[in-house]
Subunit: 363 residues, 2 copies
């Protein structure tokens, strides 16, 4: 992080605290308004092509003991974050929760980690500064990249220039917690292939798919960490690379695609920072289960519920997703991406992916 | 993997299949004996200082349809593995399960992945060849290393020389699935600090603990993958580095320590390959919860059960563990490693770890 970004984030936070002073001065009860974070309060922003919060707001106000305590905690947290930025330090969400035990005012201490996590989200929304720029690290680490990309990472120990094929082992390049410390130097990539499972990621690397197709293979490791989504978005926006998502053929994996493409409901305030709305879903599609005659498992009740809930989700209300989800409810089956191995270990790289990428106009 | 290792593993497998032929020739019913894999059938091997299987055995025999089917599956799997080694390919356990759907004999196909996983374990035990040398990759990927170590990894794309501080980003060096492809070149390390959580791993890296104390920080990422345990063992054996494990202060984390130090019951046949019996537990110890007045959570019923089961486990029957576990059952509390942050973000690197490492005679 540059000193400038630190200074800017710090000022945003202090502005927030200053608002409480202004409210006191005007004889108002101190308060803070944040958008309501529910599925019914997200809407599509046509200009930016992302889903953002609508107009409904919830207000934290000191007009109750509970509300006053919330604002007290916010003020203590703002002070902690401002100091952290001043000293160019960082911390995890869990450390913040434990640190609060050392605060002099017991009323300001968090009663559980959900409370401190929620407050950090509120502060992100109200200040317009991301958690990464507050220097709050996630517990979850980012995943890895393998492909024709040369980058420079600004670490606390100086700059590191790394080529994500030539300078890394078979494990690939480990994405740091804050990928905004990365500068892209040059690349020979044609597109990004974001892959859900480690087994499939390793298959693609073993088969040399990144070399043959100039693909940047980004491992999602299940539900992707913010760092993974952020670097995917930056690769798309800055290098103009198409993004494709390759996951299992079940409703939970469609949510993984959704979190890459649309962001999550809990973090719609970050859609512009994290989401890549142009990301396309390669598969496994319900149509692939039929077309490629893949080994399947029956849908469980919770799978069916999740599919029905997706049909209700505004982000999945496109012809494509409605058709695929309805087909899946009809065939009552799901398939994992590794089930392609039933046609042999090279089927995925020699047949399935080339066919799908061609259909999608990527290659 | 060298061609020699491939050839050796292949021969071991083919020898196994040949035994069935010999049994047929002698007019015997084909069979295969494997050690019983339960807690009551592991014993301490004084010479090697590791826990290994005792004398009890289970026999898979073709004297029932069920047993005959098991042996048929074993033979098909041996053929698949022998071909894979011949071609210098590899695959995941899940791919093997799906691949079996393409086998001509339906009776040889696996009915679920537990079955194929179990068979691979049987073959490891009977042949004395590890899964890695069969070229079976795990789904779980290894974790990362940060510290003063220079290594050479033999990848499918050629050799890569990497210094685990100077040539990597803040995320560190990603351990490959088979760390036996690594050669250690040189190092300035004094000891290994294997860390359970990502949040604590990042704290140590941010605070420069690896630089100040010449520590190799190995991220365990919860229950460590085989690759992580293997490289830890190799670092200990080949570089003569003491291994310390730093985890949460609860029974599940003692199991994480146990899997580094003693191996697991399911894989006692691999203890010599994966376990580092000299590994020492730094903490969080129940004694630390008291001494450092850490924030705690009450023990749940399942925590209490897990602690009691550890008291019964021969691997935990040492004065040290009995004292710690009994203390914990008495105080009825547990603490996470990140709870050290209640004394400030630098407490762990400036006070706690130096004190513990000094007590343990490591620094």
């Amino acid at each position: 992080m540059s000193a400038d970004t630190n200074q800017e984030a710090r000022e945003q936070l202090i502005d927030l605290a200053a608002q409480f002073y202004d409210q006191f001065e005007l004889g108002e009860i101190p308060h803070m308004s944040v958008p309501t974070r529910t599925k019914s309060n997200i809407e599509y922003d046509e200009d930016k092509s992302v889903w953002v919060y609508g107009d409904r707001e919830s207000t934290r106000s000191a007009n109750s003991v509970r509300g006053a305590r919330k604002l007290l905690k916010a003020v203590y947290t703002i002070e902690f974050l401002a100091n952290q930025l001043e000293e160019d330090r960082s911390s995890t969400l869990r450390e913040l929760y434990y640190l609060s035990e050392s605060w002099d005012n017991e009323e300001a201490q968090f009663s559980d980690q959900d409370e401190s996590n929620g407050l950090i989200e509120d502060l992100e929304i109200v200040s317009g500064v991301t958690r990464e720029d507050f220097h709050m690290r996630p517990e979850e680490s980012g995943a890895t990249i393998m492909g024709p990309l040369h980058l420079r990472e600004q670490t606390r120990r100086g700059e590191r220039e790394i080529h994500c094929q030539e300078d890394v082992g078979e494990g690939g390049y480990q994405i740091p917690n804050n990928p905004d410390t990365i500068e892209f130097l040059d690349n020979d990539a044609d597109f990004i292939l974001a892959v859900e499972t480690g087994g499939m990621r390793d298959r693609l690397v073993e088969n040399g798919f990144d070399e043959e197709y100039n693909a940047l293979i980004v491992h999602l490791k299940g539900q992707p960490a913010r760092a993974t989504r952020r670097i995917t978005k930056r690769l798309h926006d800055e290098l103009e690379l198409p993004v494709t998502v390759f996951a299992d053929g079940d409703p939970w994996s469609y949510r993984i695609y959704g979190s890459v493409a649309y962001g999550s409901i809990k973090s719609a305030h970050l859609s512009e920072y994290l989401a890549t709305p142009e990301a396309k879903y390669i598969g496994i599609q319900p149509a692939d289960i039929v077309e490629y005659d893949l080994p399947t498992d029956p849908l469980s009740d919770s799978d069916v519920n999740a599919l029905e809930s997706e049909l209700d989700d505004p982000r999945f209300q496109t012809d494509y997703w409605e058709e695929q989800i309805e087909l899946q409810l009809e065939i009552e089956k799901k398939s994992e991406q590794q089930s392609l191995a039933s046609h042999g270990l090279d089927f995925v790289t020699e047949t399935y992916l080339p066919e799908r990428l061609d259909e999608m106009g990527i290659i």
